[in-house]
């Protein structure tokens, strides 16, 4: 009897699995929180932010049942490949290296990287001689990390952090001279405090941010692209963007 129940359970599970793979009624989407204002918890502990609301609108457009998963940045792509979730909507910039591992949708926003430092910092960040010997903080594995590694590799000391919070603490504690971080994140977590300023010009990086999916889920990617295109056209995208940003990040 027990064996029969187990067998029936397995059969059911397999059926459910195939159904899900076919018409994508259930989609699990991963976010790395906090990454204000894209995804964070509000005062009541609810998940919210630009990308979370965009994901909600997209799921409504798709008529899909969405589950939101919290995943740390380091384990994003492995988690996707391990099927812990089906899509990543966590400000993942489209890069050729990543595109080898995951399937990207059309980009849905692009923000520049910004330089932030304490008030007393007065070095020109584009002047390599002046930057010599400075300590720069970046988040490990981001496009900002790649930019600093490629352009200032031998000139400055690069410190790589897992979370933006740790990096901001070290900027406050004067272990870092300057940080190079996604502009909106810097604006929210650094400029909101006293004694910090933006330095230099924001740098446009990469090809924008897309929804990342497994390579073989081509159907899902098509559905996502269609839904995003509709949202960008019918004004839903702009409404959500205006709630969180004073400037244009639409792509």
């Amino acid at each position: 009897m027990k064996k029969l129940i187990v067998a029936a359970g397995c059969a059911l599970a397999m059926m459910a699995g195939t159904v899900q793979a076919k018409d994508w009624k259930d989609i699990r989407i991963a976010f790395d929180v906090p990454y204000e204002p894209f995804e964070y918890r509000d005062d009541d502990g609810n998940l919210t932010g630009f990308e979370v609301e965009l994901a909600e609108a997209m799921c409504e457009e798709l008529g899909a049942n969405c589950e939101f998963v919290i995943q740390a940045w380091d384990g994003m792509i492995p988690g996707l490949q391990a099927r812990k979730f089906d899509a990543i909507m966590s400000s993942m910039s489209i890069t050729p290296e990543r595109a080898e591992r995951v399937l990207f949708s059309e980009p849905y926003y692009n923000t520049p990287g910004g330089w932030f430092a304490r008030e007393d910092f007065d070095t020109d960040v584009t002047d390599m001689d002046a930057m010599d010997g400075k300590t720069v903080g970046v988040q490990r594995g981001t496009t900002m990390d790649t930019y600093v590694t490629d352009n200032l590799g031998g000139v400055v000391t690069i410190k790589r952090y897992t979370t933006a919070d740790d990096m901001v603490l070290d900027l406050e504690g004067q272990r870092l001279d300057v940080v190079f971080v996604d502009y909106p994140v810097g604006e929210q977590t650094i400029l909101s405090k006293d004694g910090f300023k933006e330095v230099g010009e924001p740098v446009k990086l990469g090809q924008g941010v897309g929804v990342a999916m497994r390579k073989r889920d081509k159907e899902l990617a098509e559905m996502v692209n269609e839904a995003l295109a509709t949202l960008k056209e019918d004004g839903t995208y702009d409404d959500i963007m205006d709630k969180y940003f004073a400037y244009d990040i639409k792509m």
């Binding site: 380091d74 792509i77 492995p78 290296e97 990543r98 080898e100 591992r101 490990r140 594995g141 990390d145 410190k159 790589r160 952090y161 897992t162 740790d166 603490l169 070290d170 406050e172 504690g173 004067q174 272990r175």
Partner: protein, 240 residues
Amino acid sequence: MPEFITAWLEGNDVFNAMTFLDYWQGLVNTVQLVFLSLIIGLVVAIPLAILRNSPHWWINKPIWLYTYLFRGTPLLIQLYIIYYGIAQVPGIQDTFWWNIFREPFYPALLAFTLNTAAYTTEIFRGAIAATPQGEIEAAKAYGMSWFLRLRRIVLPSAARRAVQAYANEVIFMLHASAIASVVTIVDLTGAARNIYSRHYAPFEAFIGVALIYMALTFLLVFAFRKLENHLLRHQQPAGG
């Protein structure tokens, strides 16, 4: 190099020269950090272990409190408190201490040293407390002073009882040092994380680093077996 290894190295994009350089740099940092903290920890722990066996509460209680605090909290928390805590002390940036604590190496060394010293103190305390009373009485009967007794009888016999447990502590310390990477030290684990995020190849990056940790552990186990054989040679069968 055998041909199949050369062929394999050419055929993959993760294990290139830059990756090996990263691992090497990480190895140097890990070995430095662990070796220094173990040496300093041992030097601190032996006197503490002797004092911890003192009958006076005002000597042994403070040491008990220290070992309790550092064994009672995770090393990661201790590292966070020391690394970020020091930077929050008002005005520290203007003192000469900042030259030391600005770099992540010294806060990590301090945390690791205090942690391993606490464990080592307790290992040696137990070994010293287990000294057979007869040995001490015999030493007293010979007219040995407290210090001479300690040097000739108590410490050598305690070392024999402590060596296996201490070997474990050393291996644990090596593996615990992996958390140094959270405070931006590029140790072995930090190097593996950099390689991983550069190539998005968790298996290659972490299995590579795991093999290096295993090789280090093998060396430690080998060294401690030699030491054990040396300390316990009186227990070996005659002629063996």
